[in-house]
């Protein structure tokens, strides 16, 4: 019998993990909490000046799939004087064990308590993670409200799409970074280092940060509302914001978002972290462009990420190679909004297939516009029998598609499906929204009618050439008006109205000739209502979030943990009206909670778009014709290319 050859291995220390062994072995997927992944930075925390902990306030597997964090993590760790660690929301089983055993939340790599860091950076990707932010702060022992934090607490910074209306979260954050992280973080770290060395206070540091372009320090801005003491000039404005002002003269009244001008001359994480456990996106992500030319009127991303900026083909080829080599991933995916609009898509996709297909690397395609090119590519990289073609018409009739400025026509959909059927596909997925402005019963019933036409197109194929029955799956989500879109003023449906519309659609599906080939799913309405309030809320929503958290709400994005009745109680107890935020029609004269942010897209443009929407008039995409949205002032991307 052998004895241990290498006792050091048998008795090796487990890197002084923050959580004791028996707890790690009792929770689901302990790998979420141990760090030490491939390509993770490993630094001595004592050797750096700035400790930054990057947080994705959801479970590890989701957080690890996020490109934005990988970009900033890589960028920060390139600096010798900075160590960037990571933290994710402990899953409810770990959350419970940590509370019971008084274990403070820690960074996964250094295993240091979050409270020992200089910064805690939280990415705000969706509204339903807001209670998880409080969980992170609470488990870290950091006061939930920024005003209660001491010199020893980390500076808590937020960024990401939801920071385009940061107001419901305003009390919890020391500052928000508006826009793309690549541009100003080094400057902020230098500033912090210098001021800390000079023994400046937290308040002084935050005041200095507020002068850096793109930075919003909510405590330095005061909001006042129309109330009994200050009656509104118009009853429509009752309860809305009366004024929003900085408390110092030397900080900006309007905060302009930051953008990267040249996407081919910037940081790209060539050595992204490879988790041990399977992340939601277990593959290389290659971001091909930022922004979108389309201008769909419901889409916040399409507005806030303007202007569209492409990365060069050379940049992408070079990075694809390094990414695949450094991670060993067996799949690469292209990431962007509306990828079909990327100018060199065909060349890039063919290059990736030609170069990597023989090396066992799968190329996964984001949802592309269905045409001859995309079908040809798909047939090379997917098994036609197992895959489906996807359309996102968003609305059932051409009129409503014009209202939302979705350029997809019925002809595109029928022809695209037809080509797919001819090539052997039998499955079609379609995405719709219900509750869009101006929607009528005709629009709702248009959804099953459109699906039926697609099915009918399939049955035009001679029987002997068909591969069995066609499967059409239509899904609808409920429309949530978002800040900085032309629909930011519109009333949202109530839960009852949403469900009523879904029933109308479902009923009509049953009447269709090809109903047996069609399936219809709709999303939950409860979550949509909450998302609506959080999306267009103001600072008066913050106490509701705290209340819901105190009553046990976390992981609201996970239907098995979402507690709608508890949220409703929290609204009641705080005396906050959901209708004020969701179903009230806002006047274009109203001072909106997010109006202090300058995304480059002018309010004038949004109003113009809203008016055109009501007349069902389309606006051309940026490549076809400039619509004068205002973002040209950034002098980047397509706005500059057009001029040349």
């Amino acid at each position: 019998m052998k004895t241990s050859v290498n006792e050091a291995i048998a008795f090796s220390e487990k890197r002084n993990l923050a959580v004791p062994e028996e707890i790690l072995l009792s929770v689901e997927k302990p790998a979420r909490y141990i760090g030490n992944e491939v390509n993770a930075a490993s630094k001595d925390p004592k050797s750096v000046d700035v400790l930054f902990c990057m947080c994705f306030p959801d479970v590890y597997e989701i957080g690890m799939s996020h490109l934005g964090i990988q970009i900033l993590y890589d960028m920060f760790n390139r600096r010798e004087d900075v160590y960037c660690d990571r933290v994710y929301s402990p899953w409810p089983d770990m959350d419970k064990a940590m509370r019971e055993n008084h274990i403070r939340l820690f960074g996964v790599e250094s295993q240091l308590p979050i409270n020992d860091f200089d910064f805690l950076g939280i990415t705000l990707q969706y509204e339903m993670c807001y209670t998880n932010i409080l969980q992170i702060l609470d488990l870290s022992g950091i006061p939930i409200n920024a005003k209660d934090r001491t010199e020893d607490d980390p500076i808590v910074v937020g960024g990401g799409p939801c920071s385009y209306n940061p107001e419901p979260l305003a009390p919890f954050f020391d500052f928000f970074y508006m826009g793309e992280g690549e541009t100003r973080y080094y400057e902020i770290m230098d500033l912090y280092k210098e001021m800390r060395a000079a023994k400046k206070s937290r308040a002084e540091i935050l005041h200095a940060i507020a002068k850096v372009p793109g930075m919003y320090v909510p405590a330095l801005y005061e909001v006042e509302y129309y109330d009994e003491e200050h009656p509104a000039p118009d009853p429509l404005l009752d309860g809305t914001i009366r004024s929003f002002e900085p408390i110092y003269d030397d900080i900006p009244k309007k905060i302009r978002k930051e953008i990267v001008k040249d996407m081919s001359d910037t940081y790209y994480p060539n050595h992204p972290i490879v988790p041990y456990i399977k992340a939601t996106q277990d593959k290389v992500t290659l971001e091909i462009q930022r922004g979108c030319i389309r201008g769909c009127r419901f889409c916040q991303a399409g507005m806030i990420y303007r202007p569209v900026r492409e990365r060069s083909l050379d940049f992408l080829k070079k990075n694809a190679l390094e990414l695949l080599t450094s991670t060993g991933h067996e799949e690469i995916t292209l990431s962007s909004l509306s990828s079909s609009d990327y100018s060199h898509l065909e060349e890039l996709v063919n290059y990736l297939i030609d170069t990597y297909k023989d090396q066992g690397v799968n190329i996964s395609l984001p949802s592309l516009r269905i045409d001859a090119f995309s079908l040809d590519v798909m047939s090379k990289v997917q098994d036609i029998r197992k895959s489906s073609v996807t359309f996102a018409p968003e609305a059932g009739t051409q009129r409503l598609r014009n209202v939302i400025n979705k350029g997809l026509t019925e002809e595109d959909i029928i022809n695209g499906s037809g080509q797919a059927f001819d090539a052997g596909w039998t499955r079609v997925k379609l995405y719709f929204m219900l509750g869009l402005p101006t929607e009528t019963v005709e629009d709702m019933e248009g959804i099953p009618i459109l699906c039926n036409k697609i099915a009918a197109r399939y049955y035009e194929i001679p029987k002997e050439k068909r591969n069995g029955r066609v499967q059409i799956v239509a899904s609808s989500s409920f429309f949530v008006p978002k800040p900085f879109t032309p629909f930011q003023w519109v009333p949202m449906c109530t839960k009852e109205e949403f469900l009523n519309r879904a029933r109308i659609v479902r009923h009509k599906f049953g009447e269709m000739l090809n109903s047996k080939s069609m399936k219809y799913n709709w999303h939950e309405a409860d979550l949509t209502v909450l998302e609506g309030v959080l999306a267009r809320g103001d600072r008066r929503i913050a106490p509701v979030i705290v209340k819901a958290y105190e009553k046990g709400c976390i992981f609201d994005a996970w239907s098995e943990y979402y507690k709608n009745d508890v949220w409703m109680e929290a609204f009641d107890e705080c005396g906050v009206s959901i209708d004020f935020y969701n179903t009230r029609e806002r006047s274009t004269d109203e001072l909106l909670p997010w109006d202090f942010i300058d995304t480059g897209v002018s309010k004038r443009f949004l109003i113009r778009e809203w008016e055109k929407a009501q007349r069902a008039k389309v606006t051309f995409n940026c490549r076809k014709q400039c619509s004068g949205c205002g973002v040209g002032s950034f002098e980047g991307g397509i706005c500059v290319e057009r001029k040349n």
Partner: protein
């Protein structure tokens, strides 16, 4: 050409489950540039098979993965390349080519060596060896095995193939594999149940380390999986 890779798993990697270790190695092969063979089809995958899953929480210096390659570096270079892409807690120990006729995969496994101890390497009572011998001399050692189908009782005595009790650890060789698989903690806990006063059940303070996996050899003994392969002194790649 079939290759057998031996590796150790320890430190914080004891929290990484079997399936995730498989995924780790798939990616590691690519990072290390090992000329591994793929199956065909729309989603080609590496030709790779792992031995005997190791329980969560256990460490090991006797883990194995068999792969098929279409070319090879020397054993030394292959080990070097692989270790360059491992993380702290995974270490490749050897890379050996299997003879053409070697039985495929991991169906050959018959036994395993383990080391067991109590957290903090707490010393066992002074009469540990004596109690252990007493335990082994019983006509039969009945143990209750829990499985998905419920509880079964079996005599584990014939499956304790070798053992040695030391002052702070117990070495065990037990039957392992697809036919009969005896877990080391079952042996230890059965022993504890027999002498509860001297050996109270250690609960989650029991530590287990796998040392080696074996197949039957031609002479009725055991041969380690590693010894079934041969070192590649000079690979066709360099």
């Amino acid at each position: 050409m079939n290759v057998r890779i031996k590796f150790a798993k320890y430190g914080s990697l004891v929290y990484i489950g079997h399936l995730d270790v498989m995924r780790f190695f798939q990616k590691a092969m690519r990072r290390a540039g090992i000329p591994i063979s793929y199956t065909g089809g729309y989603s080609p995958h590496q030709i790779m098979s792992f031995a005997q899953p190791l329980g969560l929480g256990m460490s090991s210096e006797g883990e194995y993965v068999d792969i098929q390659v279409y070319d090879t570096y020397s054993s030394e270079e292959s080990v070097r390349r692989l270790n360059e892409v491992m993380t702290d807690g995974l270490k490749v120990l050897s890379y050996r080519v299997l003879p053409e006729k070697a039985k495929g995969g991991m169906s050959v496994i018959k036994a395993a060596d383990y080391m067991l101890w109590i957290e903090g390497r707490k010393k066992f009572p002074e009469n540990a060896s004596q109690l252990w011998n007493e335990f082994l001399q019983k006509p039969e050692i009945l143990a209750t095995k829990e499985s998905k189908k419920g509880e079964t009782t079996l005599d584990i005595k014939p499956h304790i193939l070798d053992s040695r009790m030391e002052e702070d650890r117990l070495y065990l060789r037990v039957s392992t594999g697809s036919e009969i698989n005896i877990k080391p903690d079952l042996v230890f806990r059965t022993f504890c149940a027999a002498f509860p006063e001297s050996f109270p059940d250690p609960g989650n303070a029991l530590r287990i380390h796998r040392i080696e996996l074996y197949a039957d050899d031609e002479n009725g003994g055991f041969i380690s999986l590693e010894d079934m392969g041969d070192e590649v002194a000079e690979g066709s790649l360099s």
